[in-house]
Symmetry: C2
Amino acid sequence: MNTSSLLNTLLSQFPEQLDQSKHGLEQHSSDESWHPKQHPIAVIYPTSTQDVSGIASLCHQYNIPMSIFGAGTSVEGQSIPAPNSLCIDMSRMNSLLNLHSDDQDCQVQAGLRRLELNEKIRDQGLFFPVDPGANASIGGMCATRASGTNAVKYGTMKHNVLGLTAVTANGTIIHTGGRARKSASGYDLTSLLIGSEGTLAIITEVTLRLHGTPENTAVASVQFQNLGALTQLVFQVLQMGIPVARVELLDKPAIKAVNHYAHLQLPEDHTLFFEFHGSMQSIREQTDSVEELSKALGGSQFSWATKQEDKNRLWKARHNVLYAAKATQPNSTIWTTDVCVPISSLAQCILDIHKDIQSSGLLAPIVGHVGDGNFHLLIVIPNNDDDALQQAKDLNEKLIHRALAMGGTCTGEHGIGKGKKHWLIEEHGNAVDLMKTIKSSLDPSNLLGRGNIFSLEQP
Amino acid sequence: MNTSSLLNTLLSQFPEQLDQSKHGLEQHSSDESWHPKQHPIAVIYPTSTQDVSGIASLCHQYNIPMSIFGAGTSVEGQSIPAPNSLCIDMSRMNSLLNLHSDDQDCQVQAGLRRLELNEKIRDQGLFFPVDPGANASIGGMCATRASGTNAVKYGTMKHNVLGLTAVTANGTIIHTGGRARKSASGYDLTSLLIGSEGTLAIITEVTLRLHGTPENTAVASVQFQNLGALTQLVFQVLQMGIPVARVELLDKPAIKAVNHYAHLQLPEDHTLFFEFHGSMQSIREQTDSVEELSKALGGSQFSWATKQEDKNRLWKARHNVLYAAKATQPNSTIWTTDVCVPISSLAQCILDIHKDIQSSGLLAPIVGHVGDGNFHLLIVIPNNDDDALQQAKDLNEKLIHRALAMGGTCTGEHGIGKGKKHWLIEEHGNAVDLMKTIKSSLDPSNLLGRGNIFSLEQP
């Protein structure tokens, strides 16, 4: 009854913004993860923070949970609606609200996607570096504490968000942070909301720190037959403090998948992609050092992408690796999982999991933002193959246990979502009780992001 | 009665660690701020997280508030005990627990001070960059979200703490974060505790991110007659993305005070101190660019500190500026306050407040970490001069209003403490209600850090 009362009220207040069509519900029932679909009761498209506030007030009044949908590119089920929830789709809130090029910051609506943002600010000589691969929404990137290929140099969302506008479970609008580069003024609510996966408040506007477009960039790839030597190179580069902008691993199966999918002819061996930013002088210093280290460890000749179109093609290949993995097997689903370990344990962790993959019989390319100690498995699961699904579950568990045993984390950038709640507790112990206390204090009826991060008793 | 019961129990459980002497209480009654003294009921010196847990359990049982004392170097009254509280002095928890030089991280007890930490890790070619000037404790630096001179290149405590061990109001031990460089695993409790000024939990152990000691450093100073031109230089340096490690402002009165105090002969004009880190090649690129910009804006010749002792002397002078200001006037107190504004507003903010200082008739040197848009006033108040105290209050208020009107924050690194509660609300509005909700949920009896950040109704 509450559901129909809410929908009737929404229909009268937001007639052009409510979608109850079967097609609409289906479109909002999944993300890019392996988790099962779930339809919301309806989809609503706010265009302003005021809209979101009004919608949240009504959901609060009728006790209906709210699920937030950005671009649907989450990989741990975060965008999949909770049962009987209203899906709030942020895609119409996609404006660049203001741009301070002097201060290298801007404010955007949360539904704006990162590629569109970069398009809008390019002519100012600025860019937003956080790049999780998918063309995610900025709000979604906040909610999952996204990072990606550039994090080794520019940091993650945690380091590049200055402030937020958000709506709480009862519809209250709050502002966190500000435009100053740093502040010691009260609790860091911005950091608390970043990574909270829609469970504490609905992020509606984001103040971002931008960066000057690098003067020059250089892109290279290098191959290794030996995964241990490859990870050793990453370790040495970081130890020496060489400020690489990107250092990405694609193992042999990942390279094969990418070659096939994107019609490339990369040598089919374990590969590192590097990107260097800076003055020509500084880039030369960096690349000379990395090449020298690489040679000593038995790496192939560096292969340089000199033309812009070659650089773009290489990174496009890297970004499409999820779809490339999927294309290796028709009618398959990709279970993508990630961990992050201290750099000194990276080699061992990757070598160990490589053996686990081989003994599982599964195809599971490894790709990773190895400069942060973060890597992913893209486990290919033929549809309706319960054995393979079970094998994938086992492999995921082995990976996480290896990472935790090395002092790492059960997820470097994908988040807990629907799939890693068990390991959240294994990783953080009774600190999870504190997280739940905070959650209950801010959202006592568990209306926001229900089902993400925790399985809470319904009040 | 609760007080005497608590003290009797503590005396029996921690006979060697409890200090009830008048001298002990007096020593723990103040910090480096202008705020009035307050004696605690007693001082206790834990040596382990277990000790802290036991002490907190007892305080919880007897409903006695706890005030945390690190090195007593806070400047907004954070270390000053709440009335009738037990002071927990962390100074005996000063061990380096472990050091992973490969991963450039370490774990310390919260009472270890930053200079002692740097002493201990120097032979590994590593350093901890966050440098608020005073030889603060690492735990205190977490609690106030400290930053300082190196933040423009290396970030603040927010960016350099990987994880914490902490004790909650009822004595529960929790662990937040971990050793991985990044994580998307649950709420960012580490960031929530950093800057919480002892109000949410007692930080007992800290996992820090370290950095490689720079290959080379170069230090220079440059003078300007015109404050506007000086701040313009800072702005241009940042706009060009020149990776300066430090850029510090001392205005003319600050230079005069420092010359007098440290027997230096710096030219008495508005001055910028620069530090550059990197390869000789990279330093040359950086310094050439900065010198060129400086010359165009009418700066003096760069004066280079080439010998290590000269570099040390220069930075020591910078660090002693608080004491130098105090020495300008016998029997005076320094009211030090800080704000942080977007870089593009820095020039205007400093010029405006310079006029306010002049019309106030007070001596108030300006020093600042201007690369972050952060600067301090060191207001000299003759003891027992109520007029000067009132003038200082007015000046502080003017400064904060100017900063907030420019989109800045009421404190860049000092924290809210006892003195800026009013402006916390002016800056963050109803987001402060969220902060209070979190506070009440984690510490319902308001036992931790009572009197810092908020004035809460006693439950």
